[in-house]
């Protein structure tokens, strides 16, 4: 039943492995493509956009989409396409920074709580229960309102509300592996408990954490946009998808739908892309899949 291991060295390069994963699941390919587009916009967007995203031009206010203004213009005559592209950088920075923060903090707390048990588990568990007890968006609003309206604080607030999700996943996974043979073997090899935690258990939890990363990445973008939408977080005139939707919302009634529509669609595509990316990322970092 089990396939005999072939003698050919099964050392696939990461690239050919990635190609296989994309071929196996075209949706993953679509997600990676979208992600590349967003990453490109974040990296070089400000240098290639056709108009200055901040320059207002009252003579060209509220223009519908045209050859000059691909996504139309807003009430101050700013080019919406340029603003949407430039905003990618800020939104991606907020999402990546907050997810990186919670990935390290929440992941470590979760692994420690699952592996050590006892008081560590109780403290980490109660902290995350407390966070879960609040409506998460309201909690994020509260944190930003209390700490002040800056990008750093949005990052911190987004990280805090995602903390319990990471703790739970990491805790459950570490708990299963706590008594695994390879952990015992690591003890026999003279590894300290901290080294077992970080060197042996953490890498094994990576694949499942990658799914969590991509899911919360989409959620972080949505959260940052949401905070800006209600006036907390990024301030105008900085281009940001949430603010742009908020600004455009009042014009929908009078028929200028494009002001809110294009940033909204971009936001949706970004969240969609990250949600789809999860499975692909997991397959990419899991050595078992590289047979």
């Amino acid at each position: 039943m089990t396939l005999a291991a072939t003698d050919a060295a099964p050392k696939d390069s990461l690239f050919s492995h990635a190609r296989h994963i994309v071929a196996e699941n075209p949706v993953t390919g679509l997600a990676f493509g979208l992600f590349a587009l967003f990453a490109l916009a974040a990296l070089i967007g400000p240098y290639v956009v056709p108009h200055d995203p901040l320059a207002s031009n009252t003579s060209a206010a509220l223009q519908p989409p045209s050859a000059t203004y691909w996504f139309g213009t807003d009430q101050l005559g700013r080019d919406i396409f340029s603003r949407v592209v430039v905003a990618a950088r800020l939104d991606m920075i907020i999402a990546v920074a907050s997810v990186a923060l919670v990935f390290v903090g929440g992941g470590f707390a979760g692994i420690a709580s699952g592996y050590c048990g006892g008081w560590t588990d109780r403290i980490v568990g109660r902290v995350s229960d407390t966070i879960m007890a609040f409506p998460l968006f309201v909690l994020a609003m509260g944190i930003v309102a209390a700490l002040g309206n800056t990008v750093t604080n949005i990052v911190i607030a987004t990280a805090i509300i995602n903390f319990p999700l990471y703790v739970r996943v990491a805790r459950a996974e570490a708990n299963i592996r706590r008594e695994a043979g390879f952990v015992q073997a690591a003890r026999l090899a003279g590894n300290s408990e901290m080294r077992i935690l970080l060197g042996h258990i953490a890498p094994n939890i990576l694949p499942i954490m990658m799914v969590q990363v991509s899911l919360t990445m989409g959620y972080a973008i949505l959260n940052a946009a949401g905070l800006s939408f209600i006036g907390l977080g990024v301030r105008p005139p900085t281009p940001e998808w949430g603010i742009m939707v908020a600004e455009g919302a009042s014009f929908i009634i009078s028929g200028e739908w494009w002001i809110a529509f294009f940033p909204g669609v971009t936001l949706m595509l970004a969240v969609f892309c990250f949600n789809l990316l999860g499975d692909g990322l997991r397959d990419l970092v899991d050595p078992q899949r590289r047979t």
Partner: protein, 572 residues
């Protein structure tokens, strides 16, 4: 047996498989798991399918039951059961046959039972589903079924959940479920792997007796040639998806025809052979391993005195106290290990034999200093190791002196570490001071010692075979050059031919490196091959200890005699 063979010609066989080929679609193309096999099974006959992992024996039975997973398909051939062509029949028709005409027993009985439903209810479900009982009399019939599979106190056990029963009892329940509808054909896929020998004997005796009484046909799939020949009329040996030999059980042992059968028989540990006899004839004669002079041979290396491990136990609270969640008074603690004393000399190998739950694993965990004993002393090279708490032992200088080879080579290797990284782990952590090229050279030297090809060192565990993983585990254990290695059933998860090689390897390593072994196992035949002395454990106590040959040939304790009698022997 001969009567069965004669009957074959008179009536059509119950099951007939012709030219069966099963293919699996994989990432690297189509793999043929089973190739052009023929098989006939007469009514009332018991056929053993023997082979090592990857031989296609399970795939054959899955094809007969038509429960191949999605990647697999029957590419060629016909399967006929009682006149019905299973290969082409619609799914609905096959489903009706499963359970009523053919049923199957799997390897892990606990996984086959619903963990949150009483076993009696599970039997009732099957009886009612197949219209063997009405809801009104189902309970009565279920208890009858429990009686038939010899479960003591069936009225009480009717209310038990699977986790409350032992492995052997769970397997009996599974047998009861499989036989509830009186099928014509029973397929038992490694039904006793993972069970103790005495339980194995009880379960196999039960299967044979029940199927004989009902004139059922049985296919027994196993890796154990001894078990197959002790319980089957005919034995079919498979290798790499092909049938290499089919003969009656007696014939196959008396005059095996195919070289593979001979190799398999050679590798099976049995009475009156030595470790070297297990290896194939054409294997390179093991060059007499250079024997390291054992420093102070014969003097005790490890002395264990009155070792006890207790686990607290709570008496069930009754009445009001129980209702309010007040726990009952602490009952007498459970003694997993109950005051054992023994010693291991330098260069000696000691066998520790017992069935599951006898405390042998707890003992080895305490000796490994992964677990603190409740009382008693562990003295190693004159130093009292039991004084160092298990929690701090990883940092102790004694850690490198005692090492362990794990039972499950897959579970004990970190899936994200390459073989080289796994072997290097103890060297990195225990102050060998090696790094870079020197470390790699040391790892390659260790790989050479255990016979692991150097080009496999950069593979991950899932890219290695079971035997290769076992070698990685052994290399890791001997890396810090320990004085004492505890072998915790190191070959239990391996095929017999691989087991033969690994046992020989362990013997060579011991001689070459002058180590002492404690060999923990449930298999007396294997222990006999490797150990100078043996201890038999039961319920936390040592019931018998002595030189291996003495214990094996003239056992004093009743329990040892029972263990020896339960080992299946071929009919010669």
């Amino acid at each position: 047996m001969n009567m069965h063979a004669g009957a074959n010609h008179m009536q059509p066989p119950l099951l007939e498989v012709r030219d069966l080929t099963v293919e699996f679609a994989t990432r690297r193309g189509t793999v043929r798991a089973v190739e052009k096999i023929d098989l006939t099974l007469a009514k009332g006959e018991t056929l053993g399918i023997v082979g090592e992992s990857g031989s296609g024996k399970s795939v054959t039975s899955f094809a007969v039951m038509r429960i191949l997973d999605r990647a697999g398909r029957i590419a060629e051939g016909t399967i006929t059961l009682g006149g019905v062509d299973i290969g082409t029949a619609p799914e609905g028709a096959v489903r009706a046959l499963r359970g009523r005409e053919m049923s199957m027993i799997f390897q892990n009985p606990r996984a086959a039972l619903n963990p949150i439903r009483k076993v009696g209810k599970q039997i009732e479900d099957v009886l009612i589903e197949h219209v063997q009982a009405q809801p009104s009399d189902a309970r009565e019939k279920a208890i009858e079924v429990l009686k038939a599979v010899r479960i003591a106190r069936p009225e009480e056990r009717y209310h038990a959940y699977p986790f409350e029963l032992s492995g052997g009892m769970c397997q009996r329940i599974v047998i009861a479920l499989a036989l509830a509808c009186r099928p014509q054909l029973l397929i038992a896929d490694e039904p006793t792997t993972g069970l103790d020998v005495t339980t194995q004997k009880a379960v196999m005796d039960l299967v044979v007796e029940l199927t004989r009484a009902r004139n059922m046909s049985t296919i027994l799939i196993t890796h154990d040639l001894g078990l197959a020949s002790a319980y089957c009329d005919r034995v079919m040996v498979m290798e790499k998806g092909r049938v290499v030999e089919t003969a009656t059980a007696a014939e196959i042992f008396r005059a095996p025809q195919h070289p593979y059968t001979r190799k398999l028989m050679r590798a099976t540990p049995r009475r009156g052979v030595t470790l070297r006899d297990l290896l194939p004839v054409d294997a390179a004669p093991a060059a007499a391993a250079p024997t390291a002079p054992v420093e102070g041979a014969g003097t005790p290396l490890l002395v264990v005195e009155n070792l006890v491990k207790e686990y607290p136990r709570q008496a069930p609270a009754t009445g009001l106290a129980g209702a309010f969640g007040i726990k009952g008074a602490a009952a007498d603690p459970f003694r997993a290990v109950d005051g054992i004393s023994f010693s291991v000399a330098r260069g000696e190998s000691l066998g520790l034999v017992g069935e599951s739950g006898c405390g042998k694993s707890t003992t080895s965990m305490m000796l490994m200093r992964l677990l603190d004993p409740t009382s008693g002393r562990i003295v190693f090279k004159g130093e009292e190791l039991s004084a160092i708490p298990a929690r701090r032992f990883a940092g102790s200088k004694w850690r490198s002196r005692i090492q362990l080879v794990f039972q499950d080579p897959t579970d004990s290797l970190n899936p994200r570490y390459t073989a080289a990284r796994a072997i290097a782990d103890p060297l990195l952590r225990m102050g060998s001071g090696l790094s870079g090229k020197a470390l790699r050279a040391k790892v390659e030297e260790l790989a050479g010692l255990v016979g692991l090809p150097v080009n496999l060192l950069d593979r991950f565990p899932h890219q290695l075979s079971g035997g290769q993983k076992a070698r990685v585990g052994i290399a890791r254990a001997i890396a810090p050059d320990p004085d004492l290695v505890i072998l915790d059933e190191p070959t239990a998860a391996l095929d017999v031919s691989v087991q033969a090689v690994v046992l020989n390897l362990l013997q060579d390593l011991k001689q070459r490196l002058g180590m002492s072994y404690i060999f923990v196992s449930h298999d007396l035949e294997v222990v006999r091959l490797l150990c100078d002395r043996v201890m038999v454990m039961r319920a936390g106590r040592i019931v018998e200890a002595g030189a291996t040959e003495t214990v094996m040939t003239a056992p004093k304790a009743d329990y040892t005699r029972e263990l020896l009698a339960s080992i299946p022997h071929p009919p010669i």
